[in-house]
C-alpha cells in the first residue's frame, strides 16, 4: 500500500480528516521551504503538496504564480527541489506529493523524472495540466515505480467522465471546488458539498478538496463530505511575507494558521463522509 493510502487508512480509522498545505518549493528559498515542511508536519498535517515552480502556470492565481516567479528568479532548479525533498523526507512522518507541470516532467523524460521523484522520497505526483486522456503513459511509469498519480475532477467535469477519472486516480482524488484558478475566496460554492457527496458514492478512493479553500469555516464545510482539504494560496501568501518580516514571526503565523484549520477539521460534522 502506498504511503498516501496508508495515511488515509489511518485517518479513517480515527475518524479524522487530512489537512494538506501546498507550498511552493524555493519561495523564498529552499532552506525555508524545508523548515516550513518540518513545522507543518509536526503540527499534524497529514500530507504536504510541494509545487515545482513553473514559468507558465495556467491553473494558478496571482499568489501562487508570483511565488513561482520568485522561486525561479532566485535560481531554483528541478534537481535542487528533489535534493530538498530527499533531505527532508527522513525527518518527517508526512508523505509529500509533488505538484508539477507536464512541461517539466516531459523535458526530463517520464522515466527519469519519476525515478528522481521516487528516489527523492516523493509519495505521489499531481500534474494539473495532464488530463486523463493524455495521462496513460505517465500513469504506467508511475504505477511501475509505485508512485501515486493523483487526478483532478472539477465542477465542469461531466459525471460519466468524473467516474472514469476516479477509476484512473491513485492515492486520492483531487476535487477542485470551483471552476477557476487557485486563490483565496471568501466563500466556496454551495455545490461543493453536493458534488463531493455524489463522488463519494462512486469511489472508495479518498477525496481531497482544493482551490479556494482558505479559511477554517471552509475546511469545516468541506470536511463534512471529503477526506481532506488542500490549502494553497493562504499558506503561500503568508510565506511570501518571509522576505520582509522576521522569519520566526512568519513561522509562528503559519503554525497558528495550520492549527486553526486542523481544529476546524476536527470539529466538522462527519455523518456524510463514508461511503454507504
Amino acid at each position: 500500500m502506498s504511503a498516501v493510502s496508508t495515511v488515509f487508512q489511518q485517518l479513517r480509522q480515527h475518524g479524522k480528516k487530512a489537512l494538506m498545505p501546498f507550498l511552493t518549493a524555493g519561495d523564498p528559498n529552499l532552506e525555508f521551504t524545508e523548515e516550513v515542511i518540518q513545522l507543518l508536519s509536526e503540527e499534524g498535517c497529514a500530507l504536504l503538496e510541494l509545487g515545482f515552480p513553473y514559468s507558465d502556470p495556467i491553473a494558478d492565481g496571482p499568489v501562487i504564480q508570483a511565488s513561482y516567479t520568485r522561486a525561479l528568479r532566485s535560481g531554483v532548479k528541478v534537481d535542487a527541489v528533489f535534493d530538498t525533498v530527499a533531505r527532508v523526507v527522513p525527518k518527517v512522518a508526512t508523505p509529500i506529493v509533488g505538484m508539477v507541470s507536464y512541461a517539466i516532467v516531459l523535458r526530463r523524460g517520464l522515466q527519469r523524472f519519476v525515478e528522481a521523484a521516487r528516489s527523492s522520497g516523493l509519495a505521489g505526483l499531481i500534474v494539473p495540466d495532464l488530463p486523463v486522456e493524455e495521462s496513460s503513459e505517465l500513469r504506467a511509469v508511475c504505477d511501475e515505480a509505485d508512485l501515486d498519480l493523483i487526478q483532478l475532477i472539477t465542477p465542469t467535469t461531466p459525471r460519466p467522465r468524473a467516474i472514469e477519472i476516479a477509476q484512473k486516480s491513485r492515492g486520492f482524488i483531487y476535487y477542485v471546488s470551483v471552476a477557476g484558478i487557485t486563490g483565496e475566496r471568501s466563500e466556496l460554492p454551495a455545490t461543493v458539498v453536493e458534488n463531493v457527496a455524489w463522488l463519494r458514492q462512486q469511489t472508495d478512493l479518498p477525496i481531497c478538496v482544493g482551490f479556494g479553500v482558505s479559511r477554517p469555516e471552509h475546511a469545516r464545510m468541506v470536511a463534512q463530505v471529503a477526506d481532506g482539504v488542500i490549502v494553497g494560496s493562504a499558506f503561500v501568501r503568508r510565506i511570501s511575507e518571509a522576505a520582509t518580516r522576521p522569519k520566526e514571526e512568519v513561522l509562528r503565523e503559519l503554525q497558528q494558521f495550520a492549527r486553526s484549520l486542523l481544529s476546524a477539521l476536527d470539529t466538522a460534522p462527519q455523518s456524510l463522509s463514508q461511503r454507504d
Binding site: Y54, S55, D56, P57, I58, A59, D60, G61, Q65, T69, L72, K77, V78, S101, Y102, A103, I104, V105, L106, R107, R108, P128, D129, L130, P131, V132, E133, E134, Q151, L152, I153, T154, P155, T156, T157, P158, R161, I165, V176, V178, A179, G180, I181
Partner: protein, 404 residues
C-alpha cells in the same frame, strides 16, 4: 511520395494529434469547453448556412478575396524569380487575423455565449477580435502584455474605440506569452459563459485545427489566383511564423502539391537563447499553452524569454502542425534577423509603396534573399500577412527618428 504527401493533409486525428504533436495539456476545468467548441465546430462545418454567412462576411465585410499582386519593381530590384504578394494587409483591420476572429465569433454566437476573451501581441488579433465582437454585439476583453502595449499604442487605442476592454498583463516578460497565460486563467474562471478566441494555430485541440481551417482561405485563394494569373502553381511560398497562423493558412492548401514551402521565424539579435524567437530553428519538443510542439525552453522545461523586433512574432512556442511539417520535412523553416526585417520593410515601402507589418517583413526579407538564386521563370509568393501602420512608431524609434 504521393502517399506521404496525401497523409500530411489528413491531420489532426480525433485526439488533435499532428503526428506526435498537438493534443490537450490543460487543466481539467477547460476540457468540457474544448469538447463543446469541438462539437459546435463540427456541427457548423456540416451546416451550409454557417459557410454562407462566413463567406458573406469575408466578401462584404473583410473585402476578400485579397489581391495577389505582382511586385514588379521589387522583383526587378532583387533579380531572378518573380515575387508576388498575397495582400492580406488589405483586409479589413489590416491583417489576416480577421479571417479567424470572424469565424470564431460565429461559433461563439452558435454556442450561446456572450463574452469573448482574447490575447494579443502586436495587437492585430486583438483589433480583429474587438471588431468581430462589435459586429456581433459580444462583450470583449483583450489581454495584452505591457511591453506590447508600449510598442503598439495605436492598436490599443483602436481596440478601446471598438468597445473592447484592454487588460494590461504585467507578469513575466509582459509580452504575448504572458497575455496567453492570463487569457487562459480568465477562461478557467469564466468558461461556462465565455469563449476564448485564440489567435493562432497554437493551444489545445481543437484550436490548431479551427484556426488553420479559418485561415486556409488565404492559401485557397492564392491557389486559384495563381492558376488564373499565370496558369500554374507557384514554385515557392514564403510566410512568417510566430505562432504560425498566416503561414498555416497559406501552406495547408498546398501541402499535397509540388510547391516548396518556407516558414520564416524571427531571428532577432542573435542565435543565443533569449535573443530570438526562432522556435522551430532552435527549440525542441515540449509543452506550452496546452499543446505539445516545439518550444524554446531551458534544461528544466521552463519557457525561455524571447526577443523580436516584431511583437507579433515574439512567442516561444509554435503551432503543433508546423512541428509536424518540420519533422516530416514538408516545410523548411529558417529565420531572418531584426535588421534584415527592418531593411525589407523599408525596401518594400520605397519600391512598391506598401508598408508591410514587421512580421511580414521577415518573410519578405527571406524572399528577397531567395529570388536572386532562382531563374526568371520561377515564382515566389510571399504572404503579406499584415500592414505596417501599427509598426511605424516602433520603426521610427529603431531608425533613430523622433516620432512625437
Amino acid at each position: 511520395m504521393e502517399q506521404t504527401a496525401h497523409s500530411l493533409s489528413k491531420v489532426p486525428d480525433a485526439r488533435g494529434r499532428f503526428g506526435p504533436f498537438g493534443g490537450r495539456y490543460v487543466p481539467e476545468t477547460l476540457i468540457a469547453a474544448l469538447d463543446q467548441l469541438w462539437a459546435e465546430y463540427q456541427r457548423a462545418t456540416q451546416d451550409p448556412t454557417f459557410h454562407a454567412e462566413l463567406e458573406h462576411l469575408y466578401r462584404h465585410y473583410v473585402g476578400r478575396p485579397s489581391p495577389l499582386y505582382y511586385a514588379e519593381r521589387l522583383s526587378e530590384f532583387c533579380g531572378g524569380a518573380r515575387i508576388y504578394l498575397k495582400r492580406e494587409d488589405l483586409n479589413h483591420t489590416g491583417a489576416h487575423k480577421i479571417n479567424n476572429s470572424l469565424g470564431q465569433a460565429l461559433l461563439t454566437v452558435r454556442m450561446g455565449k456572450r463574452r469573448v476573451i482574447a490575447e494579443t501581441g502586436a495587437g492585430q488579433h486583438g483589433v480583429a477580435t474587438a471588431t468581430a465582437c462589435a459586429r456581433f454585439g459580444l462583450e470583449c476583453v483583450i489581454y495584452m502584455g505591457e511591453e506590447d502595449m508600449r510598442r503598439q499604442r495605436p492598436n490599443v487605442f483602436n481596440m478601446r474605440l471598438l468597445g473592447a476592454q484592454v487588460v494590461p498583463v504585467t507578469s513575466g516578460s509582459r509580452t504575448l506569452r504572458d497575455a496567453i497565460n492570463e487569457a487562459l486563467r480568465d477562461w478557467m474562471s469564466s468558461v461556462e459563459t465565455t469563449h476564448y478566441c485564440l489567435g493562432s494555430v497554437t493551444g489545445p485541440h481543437p484550436f490548431p485545427q479551427i484556426v488553420r481551417d479559418f485561415q486556409s482561405v488565404i492559401g485557397k485563394e492564392t491557389r486559384s489566383q495563381c492558376l488564373e494569373q499565370f496558369g500554374r502553381l507557384p514554385d515557392w511560398i514564403v510566410a512568417c511564423v510566430g505562432g504560425g497562423s498566416n503561414s498555416a493558412g497559406m501552406f495547408y492548401p498546398f501541402i499535397d502539391d509540388d510547391v516548396k514551402l518556407l516558414g520564416v521565424e524571427a531571428g532577432g539579435r542573435s542565435s543565443r537563447l533569449g535573443d530570438h524567437a526562432s522556435t522551430l530553428c532552435y527549440g525542441r519538443p515540449g509543452i506550452l499553452h496546452g499543446t505539445y510542439s516545439y518550444v524554446l525552453q531551458d534544461e528544466d522545461g521552463q519557457t525561455a524569454d524571447v526577443h523580436s523586433i516584431s511583437a507579433g512574432l515574439d512567442y516561444p512556442g509554435v503551432g503543433p502542425e508546423h512541428s509536424y511539417w518540420k519533422e516530416t520535412g514538408r516545410v523548411t523553416y529558417t529565420n531572418v534577423s531584426d535588421r534584415q526585417a527592418l531593411e525589407a520593410f523599408q525596401t518594400l515601402a520605397r519600391l512598391e509603396g506598401i508598408l508591410p507589418a514587421l512580421e511580414s517583413a521577415h518573410a519578405l526579407a527571406k524572399a528577397m534573399e531567395l529570388a536572386p538564386t532562382l531563374g526568371r521563370d520561377q515564382v515566389i509568393v510571399v504572404c503579406l500577412s499584415g500592414r505596417g501602420d501599427k509598426d511605424t512608431q516602433e520603426v521610427a524609434r529603431l531608425l533613430g527618428h523622433d516620432f512625437a
